[in-house]
């Protein structure tokens, strides 16, 4: 089943930042409830945007969200100290967002992840920057899986983010990431593929139609999770429909449920 990581609780979003600054719990609770109703499988929590306040903001957000969230949380921070605190606060096995192959990030995250039971998003980013070919993405994903396996994280707890890049600056960026996802899934059938999608449409008009068309292509290649706004009804409808078309929806049950609830309209 496709897993949606709801991206809305992020202090780089204006309204969320204001709610966090004012400790407006009602706003946050409402937002999380809406994401849950829309079908989020994880709620991402990022408190990084108010520089110097990340620890206290993360703590307050978790105190606020934890009691009402029926799904696990995705703890989103580059700071192992913040993650350590957050990890101790959550009840359900969390997802950690994220580790990468950038030296500083990698060396900080490995000791934190060692011995922990959690899922982890692994970015195909290293100190050379964004990957430049499908082979490059696959090589980075391979290193990430091997290194995470070494510290006891099983392959099926790893969510590889192949890093979607804008098609506007290079017409081959779509095919590049699709090829990479196919190769990674062939090599590691158990690994998950996730990531943001909206980078694909950077610099082009009518971005939503690009994003939701692209997600269906990515799903065919093997993407089984995405970090998106679950309140974007159209992309959610595309995901449910594609999931059915790819054979992941017995007797078309989720699709029909979506139609009856009004979530899927043509």
């Amino acid at each position: 089943m496709f897993e949606v990581i709801g991206e809305r609780i992020n202090t780089s979003r204006k309204l969320v930042q204001a709610a966090v600054a004012e400790r407006d719990a009602e706003y946050i609770i409402n937002d999380v409830k809406k994401q849950l109703e829309a079908g989020a499988n994880f709620i991402d929590v990022n408190a990084g945007a108010r520089i110097g306040h990340e620890t206290e903001d993360m703590k307050w957000l978790l105190d606020t969200i934890q009691p009402i969230s029926t799904v696990p949380l995705t703890l989103d921070s580059p700071d192992p100290a913040v993650l350590e605190m957050a990890f101790a606060m959550v009840e359900k096995t969390p997802m950690i967002n994220s580790i990468s192959l950038e030296k500083d990030r990698f060396e900080a995250m490995i000791p934190f992840l060692t011995g922990k039971e959690c899922k982890v998003i692994a970015l195909c980013m290293d100190d050379n920057g964004m990957p430049e070919s499908a082979d490059d993405i696959v090589a980075r994903a391979t290193t990430l899986v091997e290194e995470l396996n070494k510290i006891g994280i099983p392959t099926n707890a790893i969510y590889i983010d192949p890093l979607v890049q804008p098609i506007s600056t290079d017409s081959n960026k779509g095919v590049m990431v699709l090829d990479a996802v196919r190769a990674i899934k062939a090599k590691y059938p158990e690994v998950h593929i996730t990531g943001g999608l909206s980078n694909i449409s950077y610099g082009l008009p009518q971005r939503h139609v690009i994003n939701r068309t692209f997600v269906t292509l990515m799903m065919d290649a093997g993407m089984d999770s995405a970090i998106i706004d679950p309140l974007d009804a159209k992309i959610m409808a595309s995901i449910k429909t594609a999931d059915m078309l790819l054979g992941n929806d017995q007797f078309c049950g989720n699709y029909l449920k979506g139609v009856r609830s009004g979530a899927i309209v043509s």
């Binding site: 780089s12 520089i51 500083d104 100190d127 890049q165 600056t169 017409s171 610099g203 008009p205």
Partner: protein, 210 residues
């Protein structure tokens, strides 16, 4: 009399073949290379930048226009006289330390080059002291800082502070940009300008050195 408008129109239409043909024809008619460059190509790219800023042209089209211009500039270069360099104001551009994003910065760099500036693109993950050193060695008038992450935005402030400490602050205008960057943040860290897209960045840079 050369028809600069035709060159401008062809460039805005992203018609590479036509731009090349018109520029070659102008050269054959002995139109001064510097006029072709300034009144034709750079004027055309100004319009492209404006259209980008207004959402009438998009990145792939801007890339096509810039490529068309670039190939014509190569043809014109040997014809430019002494002192008629293709290069105007000296600009330093880079993504700040700890940040590896380069797409937005490269677009800004390209638009500034197309506006006739001498752009020195330092790349990504550039430390404050390296920006300072490059301002000195390239005698820069404009410094552009890019950051795509909320976690690397503080490095913009450190870079601005380093420029102040180096005593070079009065020599340069500092521009900032990148997805999480805002005008308020620009003001807060003491930079001179924020631009939301590559077209407006080029326009702003021109206004700083006008």
């Amino acid at each position: 009399m050369a028809d600069f408008n035709a060159i401008i129109e062809a460039l805005v239409a992203c018609d590479t073949d036509k731009v090349t043909q018109l520029v070659d024809a102008a050269i054959a008619e002995k139109v001064p290379a510097t006029d072709i460059l300034n009144q034709g190509l750079i004027a055309g790219m100004d319009i492209v930048g404006e259209k980008m800023e207004n959402g009438d042209m998009f990145i792939p089209e801007v890339l096509m226009a810039a490529q068309a211009m670039g190939s014509c500039v190569e043809t014109l270069k040997p014809l430019l006289g002494e002192g008629e360099s293709t290069e105007g104001a000296s600009v330093i551009i880079g993504t700040v330390k700890g940040d590896l994003h380069d797409i937005g910065k490269n677009l800004v760099s390209m638009m500034m080059e197309s506006a006739g500036m001498a752009v020195h693109n330092l790349g990504v993950d550039i430390a404050p002291e390296d920006f300072v050193a490059e301002i000195k060695s390239k005698n820069a008038q404009i410094v552009c800082l890019s950051a795509l992450l909320t976690t690397t935005m503080p490095m913009m402030k450190q870079t601005v502070d380093a420029i102040v400490e180096s005593g070079l602050r009065d020599q340069v205008k500092i521009m900032v940009g990148g997805a999480p960057v805002t005008q308020a943040f620009c003001d807060e860290i003491g930079a001179d300008g924020f631009a939301p897209d590559a077209g407006s960045a080029a326009k702003m840079a021109k206004s700083f050195v006008a």
